[in-house]
Symmetry: C2
Subunit: 907 residues, 2 copies
Amino acid sequence: MSEIKRVYRFGGKIAEGDGTMRNLLGGKGANLAEMCRLGMPVPAGFTITTECCTEYYANNGQFPAELKADVDASMAATEKIMNMKFGDPECPLLVSCRSGARSSMPGMMETVLNIGLCSATIPGLIKRTNNPRFVYDAYRRLIMMYSDVVMEKAENIEPEEGHGIRVQLDRMLAKVKEAKGYKSDTDLTVEDLKELCEDFKVRVKQELGKPFPDDAYEQLWGGIGAVFKSWNGKRAIAYRRIEGIPDDWGTAVNVQSMVFGNMGENSATGVAFSRNPATGENKFYGEWLINAQGEDVVAGIRTPNPLNEATKNEHNKNMASLETAMPEVYKELDQIQQNLEHHFHDMQDIEFTIQDGKLWMLQCRIGKRTGIAALNMAMDMLHEGLIDEKTAVMRVAPKQLDELLHPILNPEEEKKVAPVAQGLPAGPGGSVGRIVFTAAEAVEAAAKKEKVILIREETNPEDVEGMRAADGLLTARGGMTSHAALVARGWGKCAIVGCDALKINMINRTATIGDKLFKDGDILSLDGTKGLVFGQAIPTMNASENPRFIEYMKIVDKYRVLGVRTNADNPYDAQTALDFGAEGIGLFRIEHMFYGKNSAEPLAKLRKMIMSNTTVEREHALAELEPFVKEAAKGTMKVMDGKPVTFRLLDPPLHEFVPQTAEKQKELAAAFDITVADIQKRGEALHEVNPMMGHRGVRLGITYPEVSRMQFKAIFTATAELMKEGYTPQPEVMIPVTISVRELNFQKNICEEVHAQIEKEYGVSIKYLFGTMIEIPRAAIIADSMAKTAQFFSFGTNDLTQMTFGFSRDDVGAFMPDYLANKILPADPFQTIDRFSVGKLVEIGIKGGRSTNPKLKVGICGEHGGDPASVEFCNEIGMNYVSCSPFRIPIARLAAAQAAIKANEAK
Amino acid sequence: MSEIKRVYRFGGKIAEGDGTMRNLLGGKGANLAEMCRLGMPVPAGFTITTECCTEYYANNGQFPAELKADVDASMAATEKIMNMKFGDPECPLLVSCRSGARSSMPGMMETVLNIGLCSATIPGLIKRTNNPRFVYDAYRRLIMMYSDVVMEKAENIEPEEGHGIRVQLDRMLAKVKEAKGYKSDTDLTVEDLKELCEDFKVRVKQELGKPFPDDAYEQLWGGIGAVFKSWNGKRAIAYRRIEGIPDDWGTAVNVQSMVFGNMGENSATGVAFSRNPATGENKFYGEWLINAQGEDVVAGIRTPNPLNEATKNEHNKNMASLETAMPEVYKELDQIQQNLEHHFHDMQDIEFTIQDGKLWMLQCRIGKRTGIAALNMAMDMLHEGLIDEKTAVMRVAPKQLDELLHPILNPEEEKKVAPVAQGLPAGPGGSVGRIVFTAAEAVEAAAKKEKVILIREETNPEDVEGMRAADGLLTARGGMTSHAALVARGWGKCAIVGCDALKINMINRTATIGDKLFKDGDILSLDGTKGLVFGQAIPTMNASENPRFIEYMKIVDKYRVLGVRTNADNPYDAQTALDFGAEGIGLFRIEHMFYGKNSAEPLAKLRKMIMSNTTVEREHALAELEPFVKEAAKGTMKVMDGKPVTFRLLDPPLHEFVPQTAEKQKELAAAFDITVADIQKRGEALHEVNPMMGHRGVRLGITYPEVSRMQFKAIFTATAELMKEGYTPQPEVMIPVTISVRELNFQKNICEEVHAQIEKEYGVSIKYLFGTMIEIPRAAIIADSMAKTAQFFSFGTNDLTQMTFGFSRDDVGAFMPDYLANKILPADPFQTIDRFSVGKLVEIGIKGGRSTNPKLKVGICGEHGGDPASVEFCNEIGMNYVSCSPFRIPIARLAAAQAAIKANEAK
């Protein structure tokens, strides 16, 4: 053996690796080793390390020279434990080759089963199993899988669509079945299979130009190479991009003795979870198929049986459970899952095979779960004493909370409508949308922000991006552990699978569900929690307050250090945010009163101000506008009573408020008794080449101090009135788009003058803070100077990202997809703060600001305030609070708590 | 006396201050002290410090309490030296109050003369001088000056235009002269003057509500306060803004015994330069007036006499020189000026008065000079051994070189035309433009980039901004040391003064020059070097190679460390730049071939590329475009043979090249056989909200790699062809608008592929550098990473300033004036690099880049590369080169040399 240990053996209750070695052995390999050490029945084998995969890529796709000897020795050890021999004519051992990444990538990489079957070993296996049909069925599966994965995909052969080798062999199989009038694969006879295998091999050679390998070791090395190569397959790369998995981790290869769930009626295979992954319910839950290989369960080709009586549902209540069919095996399996959960302190996702009545464990791993399940499991396990509070806090991904806050079908409305079908509730929540038939259409619709429901016979990994894009997912086949169900749950997507009543006609682009015909573009509603499909739109509603959620968030807040405020500009949003736990308003955008409903009156006043030709005219218009601003400020501060409300002064360039259409211009002209030409002229005068970097924010307040004055007056008047009414308003005044402390001083002079005047007028003493956005690079760089006047900073990382990258948010669509596709950027910097640049400026800003003003309060507002990775960053660099939209507040709270726990652990 | 020394005395060959104390005593005060120490005849007096001025402002315009005692004591000392007494009825001392800033601000602040004349002292003075006319003339001057400066301006009284007290008193004086039929002020009799003084005092009380003070000390304190206040007068502030003088320096006040040049025919006053300030010629040069006060010379009311025979000109050849009129005094003055120049090692600007045959020195200071004079004096003094090489290099302000490079009237063309008049050659060079009559019109025209010639009877400080804005200046009155001449020379502006033949009629807005009538809008040409005025446009030409200039620049280059390259995109500009000393091209903008003349063909190809719908179509269009790019690259590299040429890849967003007008769109549609709608659609598709931060620069090369490929191919093909022809081209490839090293890697892969292909095709080995612009904040921040691939950085501080400030250069006009007026920014950051922010990023960028790539070459391109202050910064932070437009190259070379000398001295 070489000095670098590239191969780790396991089997016979001992293993060279263990459960801690995920990075080196991949999740699957580490857990196989751990299961062996726990004394569980694991077919013997060995794991080739992820490092070896990296070596392989560094080496231009060549195996390290020493690997062969390592594999040979490990194979010998495996043979000894299993008491069989790989490639041996008498007692042949078959093996599988499976991928195993550090982080689970379900269905994204390749697997080859039944390796070792060849003309030399077939007779021996027939002799030993006394089951020639099984052997030839295994052989045809090997040929189908191997030719597809190793000989076609791994060789980068790109067949025309629908002409891949797998499709061709599938068609040949179907033709035989058709010719012979068979309904199921199991109807195929030994002779059928034998003939099919020969025909398959001829076709493989014709199509791929190489014979199907008839040597066990040649098959083995082909399999190992194909797994390595599949790490850089298109699907795997797409999945890693979505999940944020680094490209250089690599995959391990697990070579493991085959055991067979398809050796007859005494054999079976299954997939199970130690708790329900959709709901979190603490019941052993799973699916199995008699006389089948594992891929049959995952692929969703046959509808599987329930694992036990307790978890039967409407859909499978008449099918036999493993508990009743094989009670002894079930008992052993149940004990194992309990041991595993106890050992790992988390819900386990396990794969098992029963060969001729004997249970074998093929895999265990931490199970994926919905947000609801994650919450419920965390709380249950906490109460069971299985985990502590901190662990419970860490157990729910902040993004998963989104699910809990996402809409469901309005239960009252749902009651009134009869479902057209029922399927398996694979992903909870409600979804309403237009039918689309392909992943590509779903992606296209998502780009237009249109809600669609993707309907498919069954999904396959090629559909991943479409599943991501669709609002809901409906499939005709597959069980709760099918590909579609796993992926949908992973993303908290509303999904129903195994809906037998669904028949799709791809040629006509229609679907019948039960007896109803649906065309391309028709609307469906899905209740993913119950598995109900409705043939019409049903109103959705927000998930009501869930007491479990409230209890969980209380624990979360115990560990949180960072404050969480909201971005809200009206009493309604402020109330929503309060309900979600907001501790104040970090961003009240004054200009929001000029958008949307109820904006007509104030907008008219604003326009009058914009059309003014002199300071006096402008001051008149401002005097008319002020009461509206005051009312908006007052209403929101009232709801937020006792909590800080940060008012950001008018931010956008004025031309945004000049009407663009001829009709609107005409209306405005009539209202102000001026000409349309005047309006157009003003619009042109205000037109800017790059409005993002133009006359906006504080720059308006410098050229038109009266505009700032009006806003200060409105804010302080609202405050004074509320104080008189017995409230405790806490206004904070925030100046946007600043680059110099002199801008702040200029504005503060006006602010203090107005403040003194209102205090005198109302006879009250108004406390307030005066601060600034830090959203222009210069402001961050000279923050030490800004903080001499500013009492707080709020980092506007949206604009800061625009300026730091030179990316106009409105225009970035032209090149961002290419930037992500070519890996020039690891992520969209508008979604997650770029630590290397924007983050650096934020750090410089905080350090600088606190150097001259140690009491400086620091927060962030904008999209990043609700992004978990960005919240973690904000916690790390010592901000006082983050501010985000009301619906992201729980996410921010959880992310902040997790960040604090991580930071403490890192100490 | 108080602990803080606020008052410094001088007189009688001793002084408390000296010439080094400019900051405290102002330039005038420090030099008066120094002259005393040198034993020169200086009227005694004292200087109140600039710090006291700052105290005065900090104290809300109140004098420090201790000042009075200090002034009283110093006045007593002065009285003792002059053997007279201030306010004394018998032997009254009169004093002047003059400003004195650190840096000369000619005519921008106030002066009051003859202080101390009042009813108590008048009889005594008459008795002592035996010249009642002189005394009453001095009194009427005091009233006129004091009421204007102290009682009106310093009190912030803003009279209607044309109704200021000074104008009213002037009118009263003129009326008396008219009524009596007098031609000159000197015709006024004692009785006239006596009566006038009484009438003046009545008018002053009527108009300003206060009597003219009749107490010597009240007059004195009024004068001191008025000088302090004039520091913050509008004119002074405007001048400081233009000259970049800080607002908080303050002015000193010089209180000095009056001596009189107007005491009769044995008295005189004059202004002189130790060398000619317009040409640099080493001849004692100046002007004087018999029986006059200094203000008469400066104000240009009387045309003055020449100082000596050697410097007489066409204009004054028949007037008496001081040399012949008062040979003894002249000899003494000549000796003094020689001593002063020898003492200060620089050309001196001196003011003197001859009182009753005795010479008094009133002022000496370093004289302002034109660029040509600065160059000539530096070279002469170097050859004379008066200064060393480094001093010579420091003696010319980089901005002054601009003059030397500026146009002159084409001498051949000039010969063919008869001048309509001749005046004094106050500012050299040639100027052609439309006549304007007011400063405001000149400012307006400059805003439209129109060339105008400002014509005025005489200029006064209120005209400063108009003089700055005009291309040339012509006045009817004034000498070479008049306000107009001083200011024009300071700015290197073409100017002719004292043009007697010019008569202006402001009401008709016409002017006659000689016998020719000129209307508003007519064209004039000025030869400011010879003082000739032409009544038509004469072609201008660039100053030809001046051997003195070449010699000077050779010395400059001895001290320069920083390289100087040029921004040029065609052979013509490249040659101009070479002639000016460029050491290579730092910025060849490929897109420039699509602008201006000869761009029709390549632009058509580019548009074809833009209108392409597929990669194949685009590649076809690019193949057609490539030969044009190659030719442009080749022609320029040929001229720059052996020197580096940095090619910046296509930078602007593509929509800039889609025609906007209906007509042009129609043309294009016909040419490409597509519809106008297609063109509009493409234009709309390419439209961006903020194009500055949109799809441009390297972003185009990422989405359309074929666009980069074409450019690489053109550059390397041009290089290979030139090599085959025996040249030594040195191409450098520069990628714009980058934010990540991955962009560079992406482009470099393409570049290297093309490079290898061209090398193979031509059988040559092509050396080149691969680098990047650093113009987006992120690129500067992560420069360590950028430099792993980039072999050079060129800081694009134009865009970096846009992004760092969030200032769109195209839109900044809406608020920049307010930002400067409100002192929010000290200067336009697009003109001079902002060290606090953009400079910080540049520093971070250089440090980061060199940390991973110690051999990294670093330069700057864009406007700042030719700005002296910015060049100094570039030298300081260790750049390798700056790159600027061809005409700024000498400026950059000189600025770089001065920066290196300063940096060495600071060590």
